[in-house]
Symmetry: C2
Subunit: 152 residues, 2 copies
DNA sequence: GGTCTGTTCTATAAGTAATAGAGCAGATAA
DNA sequence: TTATCTGCTCTATTACTTATAGAACAGACC
């Protein structure tokens, strides 16, 4: 998994981290049991403060996607195959879905195109099924910078 | 169109207003040419500051959905039938779509269910086609409060 | 003991969200 | 002309968020 952050983005850093971990779980790059690097480690690799990583991990824990403890560090707690979503998730999520799809509709993207894009995205998630990937069981996260990063 | 805001929500008020105008355009409740109430009028009806409404309208103008001028006030500039989306919109939008769909996938919503929900939402937008609604051409916005609103 | 982990506290600087009041320019109607 | 409406701009304040930083604690591991 390659984690990249964009310091010049309007999206907060902690949210960029969260979004990318969520995407990695959706794709199958991270599965239940996968270990993530420690907050200080990842912060050092990304060149940011460890409190920012802490915030991202804490958010992921609140969403039920991460398990944190002193013993084993940060471990993925659930993935697409860990069972049904928590109660109430679908309702809350579909509200946001409606808002996002409405934006495309208002801007003139026709219904067919919208559903085609949805299908393509969802299809890209299932791509890694069956194999469970090449033992992605360790916190080997690549690091990539965009924006204000020095070339080091 | 009924505009309701939730003062206790984590979503900023100006964004709630924006989202609901976008949704109204997607559904067909507002079409190209529809007039919206003035900033001060809507602010008064909602019991909020007119600068907050101003911010929402300004956002909608930046997105190309609203036209603002001293003469005619706030007027919807485009809807689903006003032609193709502006260049670059689809790219930027699909990034957000991927993030949102990934969240559902990671939480265990299966691909089929996700696409079903997408289809249902998109279908609800096309519901008002053909008729163009019952002349929704005036700033007759209902107002509804949730959260900390006094019963007045 | 030393080092790693998550966790918690305080603190600061910069930015955002929402409030408020005042005023200007142009268009409209009494 | 006067009065009122409109969008628009300016300053200002309060509260919250974002990201930084340093310090410390408890538990696990070698």
């Amino acid at each position: 998994m390659i984690l990249s952050i964009d310091l010049s983005s309007a999206v907060p850093i902690y949210q960029q981290i969260r979004d990318q971990v969520v995407a990695a779980i959706a794709v199958g790059e991270l599965v239940e049991g996968s270990a993530l690097p420690s907050t200080r480690q990842l912060a050092g690799d990304l060149g940011i403060n460890f409190h920012t990583v802490n915030k991202a991990y804490d958010l992921l824990r609140q969403e039920g996607l991460l398990r944190l403890n002193r013993k084993s560090g940060a471990v993925v707690q659930r993935d697409a195959h860990s069972g049904p979503p928590p109660p109430g998730f679908a309702d809350e999520w579909s509200v946001r879905l409606r808002t996002l799809l409405a934006e495309a509709a208002a801007q003139g993207v026709d219904a067919e195109a919208v559903l085609t894009m949805c299908g393509r995205v969802v299809g890209s998630f299932g791509a890694r099924l069956g194999g469970r990937g090449g033992e992605p069981r360790d916190g080997e996260l690549g690091v990539e910078h965009r924006g204000l990063g020095e070339p080091a």
